[in-house]
Amino acid sequence: MINRSRPSADSGNSAVSICDLTVAYDREPVLAGVDLELPAGRLITVLGPNGAGKSTLLRVLAGTLKPLRGEIRVYGNTIEDERRLSRIAYMPQQEQLDWDFPLSVRDVVLSGRYGHIRREGGWRRFLPPSLIRGEHQAAVRRALQDTDMLGRQYQSIDSLSGGQRKRVLLARALVQEASLLLLDEPLAGVDNASEELIMRVLRQARDQGRTVLMVTHDVIGARKSADHVVLINRQVVGQGPPDALLSDDMLARVATINWIKPRAEEHPVSIRTGATETVIAS
């Protein structure tokens, strides 16, 4: 029922293939020996308790955090190569940003195109944002339209609500037209209307053939909308289609047995062994 197969060398159909990934802040590993294959063109949700390493996984995939060990391929290439081609877009949690910054919605979304503009080379890359060419402006317009922020494009970001801030960050990720979208808690603290809009945009991106990888606490939302779910707690605890993986029975077991395990476990491998045994026993 649960796909726990080891990653294979063939990554033809997978968007992300991770082998033996270990990440540590200071000494304590946040992710230890993670092996993971993620299918391309799907809406994938990563679920796990606080401190499970969900955001860490995203930041490694976004190339902003160097792992201690492990190999990662995105569409068969290194993260560096994919990033250089602007094929990975990352949406952070909004708390990381200073929303008093004197920028408009449009300024922020346009900044998502800076990677593309740099790649064009030549003297145009030095132009100020107001002189940036049509194709980039068109991409910005589309992203603003999709996230329903076009009407507020000249509004200053300090006047936005929580849901609107999420949508701005989503638009900045969308405007990159990347094939892998990484979203850190895109639904945290937004109202129902914004949540529906964000999920609609993400499904649309998926339908265009992009891979959407989002991190969340929201089990019910994940069950409703994800194509594929990954349970993680410093290790991959399990993965598979949501119906199977997120049955009430299974969740109860994962929640009580695995997620409450203390983080300061000496040998992280034992967590996985425990989890596997539990899962098999069910």
């Binding site: 990975i88 940003l97 300024d107 030095f126 200053s156």
Partner: protein
Amino acid sequence: MMQTLHDIGVAIVDGVIAAMMVLVNLLPYTLSEPFQYAFMQRALLTALVVGGMCGLLSSYVILKRWSLLGDAISHAVLPGVAIAYLLNLPFFLGALVTGALTSLGIGVIERNTRIKSDAAMGLMFTAAFALGIVIISQIATSTHLMHILFGNVLGVRYPALMLTLVVGVIAVSAVLLFYKELMLYVFDPVQARSLGLNTAVLHYGLILLLTVTIVASLETVGIILVVAMLITPGATAYLLVNSLPWMMALATGIGMLSAVIGLSLSVRLDVASGGAIVLVVTSFFLVAFLFAPQHGVVLRWLRRRAMPA
């Protein structure tokens, strides 16, 4: 060779001064009158350039919360000036080296201990400053020290003025050419990195830009007061506008205007020019603090009173 270079420099400076004086002479006589002397014209040009480039960079300092870092670098410049004097090197070089070393040292302490950045900065810059004071107390008179600490814009000579002009041109062109990169780095460094920008280069480039600006401002406002020019214009503009390009333009204008008004007042009232410039820029801030349309306290208070209870 050096002589030709020097002559070319002098010619350029004289040209810029001549152009500046055309504008100054448009002012009413009472305002332009002190600037009939050559030393006053040099002082005015230096003050304008320093005020402008400090104002420009002050936007980044405010938004990146680097006020204390600016303070640290400016103090750390002192031992460099002293050592360069000892070794008979250009003081610019020494100042640059100790300024850069101190900002690297701050990073080393921050990364390798549990000490946070504010303490690391305080620790490093006071140590560097102490070293500078000790060396200077051995080699120079207290007048020299006073000039380094508090500036002596009326005594600016050609080499210092040329240096200031060159740094001004570099600072302005760097900010114009890399506006997008710097803006994104200051707003969201993580996103900048994920878009493939080299954030280490941006980080140290911005610090280097701050350092050369501080060094070039030494003669005008001095080490102690340059921090004010790196904070106050940006803080004032931040209260007045809500767009980064306008904030930077306004901060630059406020810096230049304060420098000119402060310089005129210091001559008229016969007080220290560095202090006068800083007091003028602070009064700009006070006006913005009280009367800024959106963020000023007076209008905010009026708006709250107008609201139905």
